[in-house]
């Protein structure tokens, strides 16, 4: 009875209680669903932009594509730096099936070292299975052929071609062209500072030296890219957009392969440099430093043994002697000093000086010797230059004084970088009072001026500076900027490299230019001229000046005896020249280390250079 009554009474209350709990539950459900909805609203509406960008960032990858590097040719279009395909053997693990099996097959076909195998297997473990992994790089032609005919039975195996820089003339143009090499951290930092690093995302190499470095920006070209959709493992699903790379500009140089070869052949085993230039526009025709080396060694990373051999060679092949070789100019600067003498009225064309074979300063008994032991007798400005009389210039130098000499010679480019289109250039040294004070903390003595007047002691110059100063003489004071690049071109356009000439040396009397030029022609053309023997019976006219630089001081009254001197202590032979005598189209300088006299060693080299220049018609196309 009781049992039955209690539930009867409680049913309504229980239902009420349960229903109120149900309402509470439904309310909680609704509140929590609202929380979800509010959160969804935040994610999908308020933060939509942010997540949209992140989603695209996940999905879209930009694959950079390296541009082809511009080619470099000589003035006639002969390629000096080209891009050659190199082949590498690559495998895509997900397509090859059993890796060890395929390695065995390949090992039967071509030689694969244990090291290559180990490197490859390591890469296989590290990379995604759909990535192509190189097993052997730089296959030779035979290997390419063997693999190619067997490709059909080895799925997932490919021979990939990639362009690689090649310098077909090997060591002939090294100091002009330089070379490219793998991008290192220094390069990256420099690119970053210049804001150009983004353009190198796909590039492996960069110009390290010479023209390759100077014109890096033009040669490199503009990177292209593919915008691709990738999945979470980085596999490319499809290409969304593709922007092709733009090849770098091709550069045609003013250098001439034939003239360059002549320069190399005439120097043979001798250390030295030859620079030839068109004085009218500064276009460099020959630029050769000996000994040279093969720049191809550097392209794929030079081995340390090869590098050490170059670095430690006593002949210092890495030095660019044309622009970094610092030589006493010796007598080659006598025409320049003669001009200063005439311009300042320190001497007149007719002024005659007695050369007894030595020169002494007042109140001193130190004898500054002439290269000719017994002197030249009476000399004027013409014979003084042509016969390279030292005494005439000792006197002239003392009268001019260091200040006027230093100022004036700077105008010919001495002590200054020429601005040629490579970075490897020294300014050499045109000394002054201030320089000596700063360098040695000593005053300038008249005794310093005497050897300076024949281009010795503190005065140094690079072969390029000597050629440029010759150009200033034949241009009657106009100085060109030397440059090796003549034309930069793409498939659609081209631009000529034509730096303007600038007035560098002003003269009071224009006639003085003719006198100086005449002294240089007499050096070649007169019987007593120091270059007469070398330039006997040329079919063209030319002017020049020899120089013989002492490398070590000769003791007072001692006789220079080449045979008794250590090879490294023998004289340097120098020569500057131009041709034709009227309206010159070429100026040049020759510097040969430790071989003796300028007239006997350097001038004959200049002769061969000019012989080739005129016979081959290097400038004929103009």
């Amino acid at each position: 009875m009781l049992k039955k009554r209690i539930p009867m009474q409680d049913i309504a209350a229980e239902t009420r209680l349960f229903n109120s709990r149900s309402v509470v539950a439904m309310l909680v459900v609704c509140v929590l669903f609202s929380v979800i909805l509010f959160n969804m609203y935040n994610l999908q509406v308020r933060s939509y932009q942010d997540y949209q960008i992140r989603s695209e960032g996940n999905r879209i990858k930009v694959l950079p594509m390296a541009p082809n590097r511009g080619l470099i040719s000589d003035r006639n279009g002969i390629l000096l730096a080209e891009n050659r395909p190199v082949f590498s053997l690559e495998l895509v693990p997900e397509q090859t099936g059993d890796i060890n099996n395929i390695l065995l097959k390949l090992a039967e076909l071509i030689e694969i070292t244990a090291e290559q195998q180990a490197d490859f297997l390591q890469q296989v473990r590290q990379q995604r299975r759909f990535n192509s992994i190189a097993l052997k790089e730089r296959l030779n032609e035979e290997e390419v052929a063997i693999i190619s005919v067997n490709l059909h039975r080895m799925p997932g195996v490919t021979v990939e071609a990639r362009l690689s820089r090649h310098y077909p003339f090997a060591d002939l143009f090294t100091h002009a062209l330089g070379y490219i090499g793998k991008i290192n951290t220094d390069d990256l930092r420099r690119l970053d500072e210049q804001g150009r690093i983004a353009n190198y995302a796909a590039s492996r190499e960069i110009g390290k030296l010479g023209l390759e470095r100077y014109y890096e920006e033009q040669l490199h070209g503009t990177m292209g890219f593919q915008e691709v959709e990738v999945n979470n493992r980085g596999r490319v699903i499809r290409v969304l957009r593709s922007v092709p790379a733009q090849s770098g500009k091709n550069i045609r140089l003013s250098l001439d392969v034939g003239l360059q070869l002549t320069a190399q052949q005439t120097l043979q085993q001798k250390r030295g440099a030859i620079v030839a230039m068109d004085p009218r526009d500064g276009a460099v025709l020959a630029f050769y430093s000996n000994p040279s080396y093969d720049p191809n060694l550097f392209v794929h990373g030079i081995s340390s043994s090869n590098y050490n051999a170059l670095l430690n060679s006593p002949d210092r092949p890495l030095i660019n002697r044309a622009t970094q070789g610092i030589y006493p100019p010796a007598s080659t600067i006598k025409p320049h000093l003669a001009l200063l003498g005439l311009e300042t009225n320190t001497v007149q064309p007719g002024t005659r000086v007695w050369d007894p074979g030595y020169f002494t300063l007042p109140n001193s008994d130190h004898r500054f010797r002439d290269w000719r032991r017994n002197g030249h007798g009476w000399v004027d400005v013409y014979s003084a230059v042509a016969e390279s009389c030292d005494i005439y210039f000792y006197e002239l130098g003392i009268k001019l004084g260091i200040d006027r000499i230093s100022d004036y010679m700077h105008k010919f480019g001495f002590g200054e970088r020429t601005g040629i289109d490579i970075h490897e250039e020294a300014s050499a040294n045109m000394p002054s009072r201030g320089w000596k004070r700063a360098r040695f903390n000593q005053p300038w003595y008249p005794g310093d001026t005497v050897p300076l007047s024949i281009g010795q002691s503190f005065w140094t110059a690079t072969p390029l500076q000597l050629a440029l100063s010759t150009a200033v003489i034949v241009n009657k004071g106009l100085m060109p900027t030397p440059h090796m690049a003549a034309e930069l071109s793409t498939d659609y356009s081209s631009e000529l490299v034509e730096p303007a000439l600038r007035r560098s040396v002003e003269v009071v009397d224009e006639k003085n230019w003719l006198i100086v030029a005449d002294t240089m022609v007499r050096t070649v053309a007169t019987l007593k001229g120091t270059a007469h023997t070398a330039f006997k019976k040329t079919p063209y006219s030319s002017g020049g000046k020899t120089g013989t630089a002492q490398v070590v001081a000769i003791a007072q009254d001692a006789k220079y005896d080449a045979e008794s001197l250590d090879e490294r202590h023998r004289d340097n032979a120098m020569y500057i020249g131009y041709a034709p005598a009227e309206n010159p189209t070429i100026v040049f300088s020759v510097a040969v280390e430790n071989t003796g006299g300028g007239g006997s060693t350097a001038a004959p080299i200049g002769r061969q250079l000019l012989d080739y220049y005129f016979s081959a018609g290097v400038n004929a196309n103009e």
Binding site: R21, S22, Q52, N58, N232
Partner: protein, 374 residues
């Protein structure tokens, strides 16, 4: 009352004979269809997986209809037996269970592997409701205590496997029975306090490293974007980038390109959000809300305490699944492996859920007979 009930009863007259609750069935079928549409995209259009899922669906529907034929009183009589069997199996799992994914959750019956915790999802609410409904509501304190113990025993056994997520959900399904039975608010407050005091104990003594890591990652996923934070970051990107109207079916880049982890199981909600946007999310939530509302309505219309408690507990547990899954993939809750009910790919949980809905249908369609019997 009879007259108000007559209309729907007549309309679903034929279905009533099969003990089917039409609104609930329609809600479930809408959800399952929508789920299949999302799943097709989330599996990367895998026909094999679609076939498997549809097969499971058929099985689950059959289980639901089968259970719906049982009278709630029959279910009530079997509740304790099912609970005891479940407990035995949980003990068996700990003793000779099969270890998978670092946890011992499976019992190898020879012909199939079986998770006893799935039985407990049904058995705990059934048994607790059976025990509580044996007396008047609200339950007396000693019944509540025993009720809690009935929840605690399987919870601890499952937590030891370890499967903390399932353990807590099962505990919750039992606690829902106690709550709906009218446990006093004062007691609820005391228990809430006790639970919050228990939290540090749980952190230091019960949670494994990987569980702690999940919680830490949840608190700040961006600190570990490539490690365990990856899931939640990619999921939020998928959801957020869906915007209002979504990227379109099969067009979700996060899901189709597989940046989204577990896209067809735990993170299927993110696929929906990415491809159908906020509109799709609202549609899904509306369907869930309808099913939950219908479930609570069935519970409130049930005519005995056991039926209403069981119906309400199953409905609220279903809601908790939905909330925990969506909360976890959208960064509101830590990542615990809870699938989105009736949408995620996978068999066992779907069968269990549909069995629970079978019980709901049984409750919904047997009451007239019960009323007649009374």
């Amino acid at each position: 009352m009879n007259s108000t009930m007559a209309n729907p009863a007549q309309r679903s007259g034929k279905l009533a004979a099969f003990h089917i609750d039409l609104p609930l069935l329609l809600g479930l079928l809408t959800l399952l269809s929508f789920g299949l549409v999302i799943l097709y995209s989330a599996t990367g259009q895998s026909e094999t997986m679609m076939k498997a899922q549809i097969f499971r669906l058929g099985l689950a529907l059959a289980v639901m209809v089968g259970i719906a034929q049982l009278n709630p009183q029959t279910i009530r009589r079997w509740a304790l037996a099912l609970f005891s069997l479940g407990l035995l199996m949980l003990v068996a799992v700990l003793l000779f269970g099969y270890v998978g994914k670092g946890a011992q959750r499976w019992l190898d019956l020879g012909f199939m592997k079986f998770q006893p915790s799935e039985i407990m999802k049904l058995a705990v609410p059934l048994a607790v409701a059976w025990f509580i409904a044996a007396d008047n509501l609200p339950p007396k304190i000693w019944r509540l205590i025993i009720g809690f113990l009935m929840c605690a025993a399987p919870t601890l056994l499952i937590a030891k496997q370890p499967d903390l997520g399932t353990a807590l959900l099962i505990a919750m399904s039992g606690v829902f029975v106690l709550f709906m039975a009218g446990m006093s608010w004062r007691l609820i407050s005391v228990i809430a306090l006790l639970v919050s005091a228990f939290a540090p104990v749980m952190w230091f003594f019960l949670m494994r490293d990987y569980q702690q890591q999940r919680v830490l990652t949840f608190l700040n996923p961006e600190t570990d974007p490539l490690g365990s934070g990856y899931h939640i970051i990619q999921s939020k990107i998928a959801i957020g980038s869906g915007g209002i109207d979504g990227k379109g079916w099969l067009q979700g880049t996060q899901s189709q390109l597989e940046f989204l982890p577990e896209r067809h199981t735990d993170f299927i909600f993110s696929v929906l959000s990415e491809e159908f946007g906020l509109i799709g999310v609202m549609l899904l939530l509306a369907i869930y809300l309808f099913i939950i509302g219908r479930g609570l309505l069935i519970a409130s219309r049930a005519q005995d305490n056991f039926s209403r408690l069981v119906a309400a507990s199953f409905t609220l547990t279903f809601f908790v699944y939905v909330f925990v899954n969506i909360g976890m993939v959208s960064g509101l809750l830590p990542v615990v492996g809870v699938p989105l009910p009736l949408v995620s790919y996978g068999g066992t949980s779907m069968v269990t859920l549909m069995a629970a809905f079978g019980v709901l249908m049984s409750v919904s369609t047997h009451k007239r007979m019960l009323a007649n019997a009374l």
